[in-house]
C-alpha cells in the first residue's frame, strides 16, 4: 500500500447479485482519512457496495482497488461491521467475549493468545465500553451493544472501517452519540470510514463526503454537490425537491420525505 493511494478506487465497476446488476459503471475514488456517508433508498445496493469493497462480491466488470491492493487482499486492513441478523438480545455472553470471538486467528487450538486479549481490551477502551464490557450482552441497551460491535470492527487496527447501518434500531439520542464516537475515532486514528445510513440529517455534523446510491448509479461529493434536486432526481428516478430547514435537509418526492418512507417499508 502507498500512502497516497485512495482508500477505495472503483474503475468502471459493475456489481451484480444473482445475475441482476445492482450498480453499474461505478467510477470514483474514496479519499483516505475521510468520513463518507453511504446513502440511498432500500435496495439501492449499500450493503452490496460494502461487500464488494471487502472482495466478498466480485465486480461483474471493471475493478475495485482497496488501499492500493485488490479488494480481497486488502481485507485484513479493513474493519467491517455487518448488520446483525439477530439482535443478540438473548445472548448470555459478556460483551468482552463477544468482541473476543472475532479476535486472533479463526482456526487455532485452545484459548486466545495474550496479545489477542490485549487487542480486545484496547478496542473496548477505544469505544468507551469498558464500564459494561463484562456484563451480559443480553442486558445491554441497543446503543451499548452497538459500541461492542464497533469494538469488534476495530480489532487488528484497521485502516478503514465499513459500517453497515449502525444507526438502525437506535433512538435519536444514541444515533447522535454513535456518530459522534465514530467521528472521533476517525479523526484520532486517521482512518477512512464508510457509514451506510437511511437518513442524511443525523450524519450531517460528521460527513466529509456523501456517496449517494440509487437507480443503479452513484454520486460522490460534498453534501452541497450531491444533495441537490438535479442529482437526486436522477438517482431516485423521480422528481425530487430538497428543502433546507434550520440546518436540516429534507429530501422530498411528491410532498413526502423519502427517507421517512423508506423507514416505514423496513
Amino acid at each position: 500500500m502507498t500512502d497516497t493511494a485512495p482508500a477505495a478506487r472503483f474503475d468502471c465497476a459493475s456489481l451484480a447479485l444473482g445475475g441482476r446488476t445492482i450498480l453499474h459503471d461505478l467510477d470514483f475514488s474514496l479519499p483516505q482519512g475521510a468520513f463518507i456517508g453511504v446513502l440511498g433508498p432500500n435496495g439501492a445496493g449499500k450493503t452490496t457496495l460494502l461487500r464488494a469493497m471487502l472482495g466478498l462480491v466480485l465486480p461483474a466488470s471493471g475493478s475495485i482497488t482497496m488501499l492500493g491492493r485488490s479488494a480481497a487482499s486488502g481485507r485484513p486492513r479493513i474493519g467491517y461491521m455487518p448488520q446483525a441478523r439477530s439482535p443478540h438480545s438473548d445472548l448470555r455472553l459478556s460483551g468482552r467475549d463477544l468482541v473476543a470471538a472475532a479476535a486472533g486467528r479463526i482456526w487455532s487450538f485452545g484459548p486466545l493468545s495474550r496479545a489477542a486479549r490485549r487487542g480486545v481490551d484496547d478496542a473496548i477502551t477505544l469505544v468507551d465500553a469498558a464500564a459494561y464490557a463484562d456484563r451480559s450482552v443480553s442486558t445491554l441497551s441497543g446503543g451499548e451493544r452497538q459500541r461492542v460491535l464497533l469494538a469488534q470492527a476495530l480489532l487488528g487496527s484497521p485502516h478503514m472501517l465499513l459500517l453497515d447501518e449502525p444507526l438502525s434500531s437506535l433512538d435519536p439520542h444514541h444515533q447522535a452519540t454513535t456518530i459522534d464516537l465514530v467521528k472521533r475515532l476517525q479523526k484520532r486514528l486517521g482512518i477512512t470510514v464508510c457509514f451506510t445510513a437511511h437518513e442524511l440529517n443525523p450524519l450531517l455534523p460528521a460527513l466529509d463526503h456523501v456517496l449517494y446510491l440509487g437507480n443503479g448509479e452513484a454520486a460522490l461529493g460534498s453534501v452541497a454537490e450531491v444533495v441537490t434536486p438535479e442529482v437526486l432526481s436522477r438517482l431516485y428516478g423521480t422528481r425530487i425537491e430538497v428543502l433546507h430547514v434550520q440546518g436540516r435537509i429534507f429530501v422530498m418526492a411528491d410532498g413526502h420525505a423519502v427517507e421517512r418512507d423508506s423507514h416505514v417499508h423496513l
Binding site: 486467528r105 479463526i106 487450538f109 469488534q152
Partner: protein
C-alpha cells in the same frame, strides 16, 4: 461403594459422559440448538436397536446414527428451522422403528428400558474403553472447533465475511453433538439425554456470562450431577437416571431463583 467393579465403571462412565456432554452442551445452549440434542437421542434409538438386530454392539449403531444424523442436521441448517412438525414426525418414526427392531430382536423389555432410560450400572470395561476413546476424540475436536464455533455462533455475519464456512462449522459441531449423545445414552438413555446435555450448560450460562468460566462451570456441573446421581442411586437403589434428571432440574431452577 467404590470397591465394586461395576460401581467403578459406573462412576468413570458418568464422568466421561459429563465431560463430553457438559462441553458440547455449552455450545448447544449458546447456539439455541438444545432441541438438536434431544432429537439425536430419539434418532439414535433406531440405530441402537438396529445394531442389536444385526448382532453388533448397540453403542456402534447409536454412534453411527447420531453422528450421521447430526452432520445431516448441520448440513440442512436453516432449512430445518420452523419445520417442527416434520422433525417431530421423523423423531416419532425413529422411535417406532426402534420398537420394531426390538420386536424382531427378542422383544426384550430390559434392552428397551436400558436404551430408553439408560443403565449405567451395566456398563462393562469394553464399553468404558470405547467411551473413553470417543470422549478423547470429541474433546480434542472441540478444542480445535471451539474458536470458529464461538465466532460462528455469536457473530455469523462477520465470521462469514472473514471467510469462515458456517455450514462446515455447523456440520462438524452437530456431528460432535452426535458423539456426545451416543455417550450420554450409555448413562441416561435416549429419552433423558437433554438432562445432561442441556441442564448443566443452561445453568452455567445463567450463573455467568464469561465464556471460559461458563464453559468449565458447565462441565463441572455436569460432572457433579452425573457423579452424585450414580452415588445416590447406589445408596437408595432408585434408578440413576431419575437422580440425574432430578439433580439437573433442581440446580437449574435454583439458578433461576438466584437472579
Amino acid at each position: 461403594m467404590f470397591t465394586y467393579d461395576f460401581m467403578q465403571n459406573a462412576f468413570l462412565a458418568a464422568l466421561l459422559v459429563a465431560l463430553v456432554s457438559g462441553s458440547t452442551g455449552y455450545f448447544l445452549v449458546l447456539r439455541g440448538q438444545s432441541f438438536a440434542g434431544h432429537a439425536l437421542g430419539h434418532v439414535g434409538f433406531a440405530g441402537a436397536t438396529g445394531a442389536l438386530l444385526l448382532g453388533i454392539s448397540p453403542f456402534w449403531g447409536l454412534l453411527a446414527v447420531t453422528t450421521a444424523g447430526g452432520a445431516l442436521m448441520g448440513f440442512l441448517g436453516e432449512q430445518l428451522r420452523e419445520r417442527d412438525v416434520a422433525i417431530g414426525v421423523v423423531l416419532s418414526l425413529s422411535l417406532g422403528f426402534g420398537l420394531l427392531f426390538l420386536n424382531f430382536f427378542t422383544g426384550s423389555a430390559v434392552q428397551a428400558t436400558s436404551l430408553l432410560f439408560g443403565n449405567v450400572l451395566g456398563v462393562d470395561r469394553v464399553t468404558l474403553w470405547q467411551m473413553a476413546g470417543f470422549a478423547l476424540v470429541s474433546c480434542a475436536a472441540l478444542g480445535f472447533l471451539a474458536r470458529p464455533l464461538l465466532f460462528a455462533s455469536v457473530r455469523p455475519e462477520l465470521a462469514e465475511a472473514r471467510g469462515l464456512d458456517l455450514r462446515l462449522v455447523s456440520v462438524l459441531f452437530l456431528a460432535l453433538v452426535g458423539v456426545a449423545v451416543a455417550e450420554a445414552v450409555q448413562v441416561v438413555g435416549v429419552l433423558l439425554v437433554f438432562t445432561l446435555m442441556v441442564g448443566p450448560a443452561a445453568t452455567a450460562q445463567r450463573l455467568t456470562c464469561k465464556f471460559v468460566t461458563g464453559f468449565w462451570l458447565s462441565v463441572a456441573l455436569a460432572a457433579f450431577t452425573a457423579f452424585a446421581g450414580v452415588a445416590l442411586a447406589y445408596l437408595t437403589d432408585w434408578p440413576t437416571s431419575f437422580w440425574i434428571s432430578l439433580l439437573a432440574a433442581v440446580i437449574y431452577f435454583c439458578s433461576l431463583l438466584l437472579q
